[in-house]
């Protein structure tokens, strides 16, 4: 069965420091992978997506993610964190038939940013 694991429930980093949020997936075929961010009281905003091809992807707000098939991972990174990045981050895998899919989410990682 498809699943997504985000091993870190919360992470605290200092403003300006680098960030890596971990995501591991389990999926039998080529995965469609996503990172979403949720600010308090807001819906989910797409940061970046992986469908096929390259392994390093650039998203919005300076985020990037690296897809490693051998490790079944899709970790999210940012070189320098801003205070406005404090939010909850969800990794998801798309699963379904006929190219139309439902998202299976990880449990999320809450990011706290120290001034």
């Amino acid at each position: 069965a498809q699943s997504v694991t985000q091993p870190d429930i919360h992470i605290t980093v200092s403003e300006g420091a680098s960030l890596e949020l971990r995501c591991n997936y389990s999926y039998g075929a080529t995965p469609y992978l996503f990172w979403y961010v949720q600010s308090p009281g807001q819906g989910l905003q797409l940061l970046l997506k992986y469908f096929s091809g390259d392994t390093l992807f650039q998203g919005i707000k300076g985020f990037e993610a690296e897809f490693k098939r051998s490790q079944s991972s899709f970790n999210l990174r940012k070189p320098s964190v801003h205070w406005s990045d404090a939010a909850e981050y969800f990794c998801a895998v798309g699963a379904g038939m006929d190219s139309s899919y439902k998202l299976i989410f990880g449990s999320g990682t809450r990011l706290l940013v120290r001034p």
């Binding site: 009281g41 989910l44 998801a92 190219s99 449990s107």
Partner: protein
Amino acid sequence: GAGVSQSPSNKVTEKGKDVELRCDPISGHTALYWYRQSLGQGLEFLIYFQGNSAPDKSGLPSDRFSAERTGGSVSTLTIQRTQQEDSAVYLCASSPSPGILAKNIQYFGAGTRLSVL
């Protein structure tokens, strides 16, 4: 509209009452999804509508939950005889072109926070 709109933003109800949650997708989007976000279960898929096809109801937790989508646009999620464990944020998403993978991105509304007393 500019984005996915959900109403109400907050709903407080008594145990045993029925509730209806509304989702207005982005204009022109053919696919619509409902998810539930709760403390104990995280984000769970509930149901998926695509055009006139039969919906994928595989995520609905019980027969107290149902959803419909009228005219291929607005959707209503109905929970009958609400229970305290139904308390959660219910998120709706829509996507433009499920048959074109590169465009099959789900855009989420802000959600409806349901509290069952």
